[in-house]
Subunit: 276 residues, 2 copies
């Protein structure tokens, strides 16, 4: 088997990892560093302008491993859910315009005032079913990303890969999963559920879990600086048939966001070779 | 069915909820408030002296719903694991001395320098099997407490009730589970696994998940202040056959630990009646 871990052509940089950068800077910075794939968040794509972003990416011959992010489907009333769906259709279109391999979905947590996580999960399923025809038509696969259970209340009520796989089973073609080691590394069923996900794995995100972790959202580590057995999880996704990129997504207000993004990219490259 | 939620005789106070208090103060404060059950941590029992603690608790006619905590079984070498087991045997003896209904176990996370969570989980299983004969002899049930996945690295590698139930199946008599809403509320399999735990539920801990949560360890909420559907989970444990206490365990450095403990108890009583 081709040793993916030493192949820089399979490294992708999520724009959150170099948050100070605009899309233009991300495109140029990655090109400078010899990195050929990116995964931008919608804010920087929109700031650039979708058409211009698409041209810029094409001109630099970059692969877009995903557009981050759609989702946030849950709401306390029908108008809120409709607005979320409309926004997600636009996200699908944006993903299509920049030729993203998938639209990453952070599905949403409990609506304001709700304690009913079962209902939130039903809302997510219903919204996905409603969004899917548009996504299929646009040729943009939807990547359901299970988020760590510590985000169940405020970000995503899909918290295990098993749940995401169940959704894929129910939804059929056009729905897949994004596996982010940060969210799933602790899962006792990880190996089984990665194998089950199989060809439905649309994206693979890497970073690390720091000990201690000082902030629930913004204290992710660089690969190798934490306790996640990256090589073991990499072997699981490869055994499941995944041949795509390793996308580095590090939300780190206290450390990596403060550094020179060019330096961050150099370290991503080095760690990708050494520990991912 | 008896409506347990309005019965103050089934309210128990974990000493962490009123952290400024010594065991003596906890005993007297609960008695003053008309609360008849406590669950102390080992530090305050040891500070009081185990014999004296036992007498004090007996004299005040208090139920001890659990001793917190044994566990922390994982270590990077055999000597470390032996020391942990020795300490756990002492914890069992202390639990026996104060007539605790169970010894609560926080099983331990990754040993220092390890990234192998599978190995940590094996260490836990082996340690439990080794501790169990002593616990059976002492008549102290071991309550395996699954901890929220955000503690997988540094506190407990048993992170779902399913895992704890699997361990109970393997270990047999003398092993049970502690269900703490804080750790399990997000679990898509919660209802099924609580039903499966059934009579193995040795303790039921209540508190709440705040949005936002500002600290992984020390920002738990008072029941009713967060997003956990306490009544729904209570119904699950009752349907599983649990007829024991609701034990309030709130680790809250920024709020509840700063308040007058007598006031905290009054609020616990009120919330126990109204929302638990």
């Amino acid at each position: 088997m081709r040793d993916l871990s030493h192949d820089r052509s399979l490294l992708s940089i999520n724009s959150m990892t170099v948050k100070p950068w605009s899309l233009e800077q991300l495109v140029e910075g990655c090109t400078r560093a010899g990195i050929s794939a990116i995964s931008p968040w919608r804010d920087i794509v929109q700031a650039c302008g979708v058409e211009r972003a698409a041209r810029l990416i094409r001109d630099h011959n970059l692969t877009v491993t995903g557009l981050c992010r759609g989702g946030m489907f849950t709401a306390s009333d029908a108008a809120g859910r409709r607005a979320a769906l409309d926004d997600n259709r636009r996200a699908v279109d944006e993903a299509g315009a920049i030729d993203a391999r998938c639209l990453i979905l952070v599905v949403g947590g409990l609506p304001k005032g709700s304690r009913d996580i079962g209902d939130a999960r039903k809302q997510v399923r219903d919204a996905l079913a409603e969004l899917l025809p548009h996504a299929r038509q646009a040729g943009v696969p939807l990547a359901i990303e299970p988020l760590h259970p510590m985000f169940a209340a405020d970000r995503a009520c899909v918290n295990t890969l098993a749940q995401a796989n169940d959704l894929c089973d129910e939804l059929g073609a056009g729905a897949g999963v994004a596996v982010d080691v940060y969210h799933v590394w602790w899962d006792p069923e990880l190996k089984r559920e990665i194998a089950r996900a199989g060809r439905n794995i649309l994206a693979y995100h890497v970073n690390d879990w720091l000990v201690p972790t000082t902030d629930l959202l913004l204290d992710r580590g660089m690969m190798g600086d934490g306790v996640i057995d990256l090589r073991a999880i990499r072997a699981m996704v490869e055994a499941a048939g995944y041949r795509g990129h390793c996308e580095v997504e590090i939300l780190s207000a206290g450390n990596w966001w403060k550094r020179d993004p060019d330096e961050v990219l150099r370290i991503c490259l080095e760690r990708h070779q050494r520990v991912v």
